[in-house]
Amino acid sequence: MYKKKIIAFLAILLVFLILGCGLAGCSSGCTDQTPSASLETEQAMITVVDSFGRKVSVPKEVTRIAALYSFAGYTVSLLGRGSDLIAVPGGLQRDLLLMEIFPEIADAAVPRVSGKINIEELMRVSPDLVIIRGDTAADKKELEKLGNSGIPYIIVEYSTIEEQQEAVSIIGKAIGRTAEAEKYNAYYNKILQMVDEAVSAIPPEERTRVYHSENQPTRTIHRDSIAADWSKAAGIINVSINAELELIGNDYYCSLEQVLMWDPEVIIANENSALAYIKGNPQWSGIKAVQNNRVYQLPLGISRWGHPGSVEIPLAVLWTAKTVYPEILTTVNMAEEVDNFYRTFFNFELSDEQIEKILKGEGLREPK
């Protein structure tokens, strides 16, 4: 009898615990409810053509922006409207530098969890523009939900540098920051041109073979990704982009023996735990890059440089070319470039310590 009571008690406790977790999870997103602008005046509308060629009518003056995808969040911030983000992907709230520049992001709602939009949560924060990406748009149910909500949404999608620049322009137009978008794209192209001029001096047979580890040691770059495109721009031979890779979830993996066969001269990794693993694991010790101590960590600013959703890809291209080929671009000082980039686009002055942290790729992203 007594035992039964204990078990019943434990069962109830478990139920409450689960409920409690649910409520706690909600309360972090449910606080400071802002009443929507109820005095809805007739607003001027503009038409934006998104990456899918859809013509979307959006208010000329958007004030409440929902970015349901990290690139959108970064770009809105880059174009100077980070404080108007009222919904962001959860990952953004772990980018410490971004949060320092735009503390408002900490209070933004996170209506898209695990690939699904919580439409009521999204409507609660009453955005007047939603930015989603291609894979969300591929899900008819998600689109239907968004359509029913009546909130205008634009889709941005890219797998090349050119398409990414277009995406920046689309977002720029939608949020009234066309000039800033053009300024960014001009900067982007200037860096690309500078790197291209420098690396074109290196004959094709002397180009360096680089393995790029993405988050995990054997997770790597597929040919149809922007990372494949920007590694071309950096003048390196990315060993994985012509290989057969294993698709798991949304990511591509290769096998360890495959890496050994590639025997890359340089390894770049965007995650310090992967970097430590590669450097410290005897299985990797025979690889040229490890033997010659040429395993580098990609820098990390407001986002991981060179990551698919990153707006710091021009910096990644510059850094990679300079790191892989130390003999070129000798006049470029990375610290100055970093300082300049964040000052120009984020109007933010980095401390020397922060610049160093960015270049080391440490400490600016909070572990989950």
């Binding site: 039964k4 057969e244 979830g249 096998s255 495959q258 025997d263 694991n281 005897p282 025979g286 989950k368």
Partner: protein, 339 residues
Amino acid sequence: MLTTMKKKIFLAILILTPLLTIFISLFIGRYPLTVGEVLTVLGYKFGFVEADLPLNNINVVWNIRLPRAILGAIVGGSLAVSGASYQGLFRNPLVSSDILGVCAGAGFGASLAIILFQSQPFFVYLFAFGFGIGAVVLSYLIGFHYHTTPTIMLVLGGVIVKAIFSSLISLLKYIADPYEHLPSIVFWLMGSLATARYEDLLLAALPMTIGMIGLIAMRWRLNILSMGDKEAQALGINIFFTKSLAIFFATLSTAAAVCVSGVIGWVGLVIPHIGRMLVGNNNIVLIPVSISIGASYLVLVDNLARTLTGSEIPLGILTSLIGAPFFIYLLKKTKGRGW
């Protein structure tokens, strides 16, 4: 009964088969090494050959293929032996190593560690192992709460615990960052030996070996437990103690196997059946045979997993793909009557 000579030959086959498959797997892989090169590395490592070998050759053979094959063998043996033991214990040839929820528990533990500790291997092991054992303990407490028909209550306990942990895994998948953690969780849940290193071996081999040796030692008791609680007690067995001990050993080996290699399905179900077909149902013979076949089977399947494509096919997928049709074949062959 077998004569002593026959027994010795039989034992030799049991031990040599997995060793042979491990040896063969040293020659299989994407990295192009000739038979001679592999043998040179082995000769060098065992001190027969003095040579200046490419470090990558040594690493491929000695640091990548060998630990992986050894780990595969131990994991395969562990899963098979715990499956065979549970089948005897629950008097049902259709139960598998995860009947008491060890895989679901370990899966939850691993997913939790992937999210909490950024996939740091040590925490993933620790959590997988801890929660795997925790799940079994929970099933066990539910099962032994009522004393009347413990076996069926244990099975029910397992069902409940599995359901709880499966939904908790789904919850974690839901919470997980889709671009950082979710792929790791999915990859882990599908099972792989890809990350096998000697450190992993050391960490996991001890509990697996203890579990296997324990089950080998008490294998005759498993025969008696399969007579059912009443008869087994009347035959002089302390049911509670013996069952607990068997579950303890089986859990130790399964939890450790799952925590280094992820969830590899079907081995614990199919291998004991191949054993039953070959040598009958007497656990005195079946238990060692299951270990031997399980070890060889997983090493072979892993060889397939790492050679079929440029990358790794998760093992769990292959074992199910191979195991399920094979099981249908077995059922058809015996017309469902058992062996």
